[in-house]
Chain length 331, copies 2
Amino acid sequence: MADELITLSDVAAAAGVSLSTASKALNGTDRISAATREHVRVTADRLGFRHNALARSFARGRSQTIGVLTYRASNPFTRVVLATAATELGAREQAILLYDARLGEHDITESVLQLRARRIDGVIVIGTGTSFPAPSITDRFDVPVTYAFTFTEDPDDVTITSDDDQIGRLAMTHLLSTGRRRIAHLTAEPNDAAAVKRAAGAGAVLADAGLDWVTPVRFGRWRENWGEEAVREVLADAPDVDAIFCGSDAIARGAERGLRMAGRDVPGDVALIGVDNWEQLMHDQRVSRHLTTIDVGLEEIGRRVAAQLLDPDPKPGIQYVAPHVVIADTA
Amino acid sequence: MADELITLSDVAAAAGVSLSTASKALNGTDRISAATREHVRVTADRLGFRHNALARSFARGRSQTIGVLTYRASNPFTRVVLATAATELGAREQAILLYDARLGEHDITESVLQLRARRIDGVIVIGTGTSFPAPSITDRFDVPVTYAFTFTEDPDDVTITSDDDQIGRLAMTHLLSTGRRRIAHLTAEPNDAAAVKRAAGAGAVLADAGLDWVTPVRFGRWRENWGEEAVREVLADAPDVDAIFCGSDAIARGAERGLRMAGRDVPGDVALIGVDNWEQLMHDQRVSRHLTTIDVGLEEIGRRVAAQLLDPDPKPGIQYVAPHVVIADTA
């Protein structure tokens, strides 16, 4: 059986004071001698007494609970941000109440009412990426709202997200630093903001080096099979290609397979760099790695969005998390 | 600005009744005419009134909050179970308070006190897999405790986890059904319960078919590079191998690369099946897939552990979630 929960009465009895004195000593709500206060506090600590957090929350009108709204909690990026934010919030004794897929026009009204009735202390909206903007819902709440791994159309929304331009720049800088010069790029849809910004960032660094893509940027899908398919086009159009920047690790996996099937060695003939750092985030491979990649900073986004929400003076606008290169076998 | 929160006074005023009558109508705590009750309820709905959930929790001594204890919240398996359980709980208006990495002998005592002070309604312990047993902490709490994706030494603990024996059986059954007969197995450490059970399950099906492994089972690590290394040994020892069951998708990725580097076609020469279904869970590739694999049921574990926790009559002991085959290109 579990031990009985220590109550304020237990503390009062053990300290030999009245319940009222014990309460005053621990809550600091009335005058009481320093010696008595100290005596009661030491007794409370010895017994393992904890204030009834629920009663305290109620008295303050705060729930120590954060509403978390996701578009799709099963999205793998969302999961990383969610787990990291929940960890950070838990370390500060903040619970999360997760509402998944209730951000649509109809559901959001109901969600807002329910979260307010619950007296949540703040809201975190977690997106699935920086491909397309999300609606701002900040003005539906009278508690702070922060956004993670998405962007809204309100420039004042407190938003922590990845830096796609910088991701492209880093990838290209790395390929150039290893001596590659005949570089191709495979990425997702041409109307996807993340794909477009990564391509532009990489292209700018390439141009600064006095170079151009060895074959036009190929826009397609965030899919492994697209990488395999596109690499065949690249090899046909630019057989002397010596590096490929892939917009995601999934595309890079397909590209690597396509290269090997065409008899090209990786990285001997063609270097490959992806984006996402799936091997660490997803396969938990921190020790042995294969694919060289860019980590977009999802865990950092999760930590910072939680910290910004609890910050009494959060910074309005978009804060970009710095990506970093993860060097492994392929580039 | 956000709308003002609708209070019980607003409802009473709009319905033309006293505060006390409005409260009785909505709480059902005293006698009141059915007509008045209905009138007040309709008015409350029209105004969008919600009970103050925090006050209601306090009155009932329940927090509608579940403590979630993780060994390592950054573990990718843990993240999937966590996100799925949080989604399920959120749909039932239950928040989670996540304590990460506080399950050690020292920290657990503090965690227990804090969670009890918070008046949590239950506890979910999420493990990182079925490789090694976790200590039972059920008797430290006076609320229900359930375990996900782990196992304890207490046979009565309510535990939802993956079925490693069945995973091995399914993988082997699939390879045999595609006509393969000269089969090898690459997996993790020989003292890892998940690796051992998967190997045993697969071996039993192989034996039932009157066959034996074409080369002894190779125990190593849950790592991609181990797959690449081990496949070279397999090809040296059993050049006529026609299928490899890999204990995880990471091992299978390495094995595939090793096979291609050795000039073998996949699945033409050698079929490959992994375990984990990373492409769906982690790369979000539900449409186009590459690696044939076994889905161990992590999302189902997350859903069921939440449901069991809230079930007034949970089932003691281990409940295994059924794995399923995900057929793609490699087998």
